[in-house]
Symmetry: C2
């Protein structure tokens, strides 16, 4: 936890009282003292400092903070993810990892090789994504929660829903082992959003690949090695981010 | 498991008898029948096919294979990793993930912020790396085990050991949040090996950064976000691999 995140409704006149894992972190990990300052952020808001007014060091821990938050600049990361719903334990890990890496929206979708039972899991049924997203934000010192959208049917997602968001992206990438060995070299303009789609264990079926291509998706691959979904998501995020950074670098040199 | 890996001493006259998780995989996941062929590889050897001669479908599973292995071309991945020893659960995950991504040698080293107790863990004490490396190979359809080297003291590793392997690398990269935002743009020649060093949770201390720099390491960073060690390792591996592929691409176009 590299930042203490609080909800705006936990703040009263700049004061926050913490008595959960965040208080425990301040007491046991940071070993902060009264008068110390800790890094604080407001969920979907700004970042700042919290000065420790009181500490109750015995369980249950309690910490009172006087916080100062700077004006926020909501900078949504330029990448979105379409992900065939993975099994719950992997979904949780991926949510934390891509949130730490920086992601705007995560579309969880049905695909042929997604086990139907995954849609009945507790995390989906109870909309229990937030703890894993917060975990990623706390790791990466960010405050802006990614959006999560659920799409329980493949065809309506791509044929009906996707066209309504299509224009927000300049690049539509489909992770597909049969695709090009590398990402398309066409990322060359400033300020574009990119979406990348990662399939289930076993990959997309041909029908799904066709449907993605009809919506303008370009196949991309990260080589011949078959990766687990969580490794593939992080590796693709890293590669696409590097391409986008290098593009900006070139742009800045030219301008 | 995308390839069934066998040890060379399990093979007698091209025949292999499996009665462990590999047999279970063939029976329960692949649902193979007698006469079917499965993808087989020999650990640190070649790849080929195994024809199923017999199947015992009730627990304990048993499968007899008649295997044909092609000549192997030992291609060691062009990347090595220096990693400050992480906690065991994270070490296991990283070993599988980097093996799947492709890695030559993994040097596990001591650093100031590595908890001494990690060196007493079962996986280190019993040299229990192999199952996690095999897991990565089985995922990525590879057969060549990475080498694991343990270095329990930081200074002798960098001052005495590293100079003996230094010449095998063209690029020496040090993951460091204070470093450049991006990797150095100097990767521009064919057929070089690269080593990248990733620190413990909390990062390298100044003394360690100095020592790495004295050995020719160049700071690199993957941006301002603080990542967990496992996410950072995968993201850096992906970025460096992309840079090396693009270098080869340029080379091939020019030649």
């Amino acid at each position: 936890m590299n930042i203490i995140l609080v909800e705006s409704d936990e703040i009263t006149d700049n004061l926050v009282h913490l008595n959960d894992h965040r208080a425990e972190h301040i007491v046991k990990v940071l070993r902060s003292q009264v008068g110390d300052e800790v890094r604080v952020g407001v969920v979907n808001g700004g970042k700042g400092k919290g000065k420790i007014l009181n500490i109750k060091t015995k369980f249950p821990f309690g910490v009172d903070l006087d916080i100062k938050i700077r004006e926020s600049q909501h900078q949504v990361p330029p990448l979105d993810l379409i992900l065939a719903l993975p099994r719950p334990i992997m979904l949780k890990r991926i949510l934390s990892q891509v949130t730490a890496l920086g992601i705007g929206t995560i579309h969880l979708i049905q695909a042929k090789r997604v086990e139907k039972s995954f849609w009945e899991s507790t995390i989906i049924a109870e909309n229990g994504f937030k703890p894993f997203l917060l975990h990623g934000l706390e790791q990466a010192v960010d405050t802006i929660l990614p959006e999560i959208c659920l799409h329980r049917k493949f065809k309506p997602f791509l044929e009906d829903y996707y066209p309504t968001i299509r224009e927000s992206y300049q690049y539509h990438l489909l992770a597909h082992p049969g695709g090009q060995n590398g990402l398309p070299g066409e990322i060359d303009e400033k300020s574009c959003r990119t979406v990348f789609a990662v399939g289930p264990e076993g990959g997309w079926v041909d029908y799904e690949v066709q449907k993605f291509r009809q919506q303008g998706f370009v196949d991309c691959s990260i080589g011949e090695r078959i990766l687990k979904v969580d490794t593939a998501v992080v590796a693709l995020h890293a590669r696409i981010s590097l391409l986008m950074e290098k593009r900006e670098h070139i742009y800045n040199q030219e301008s």
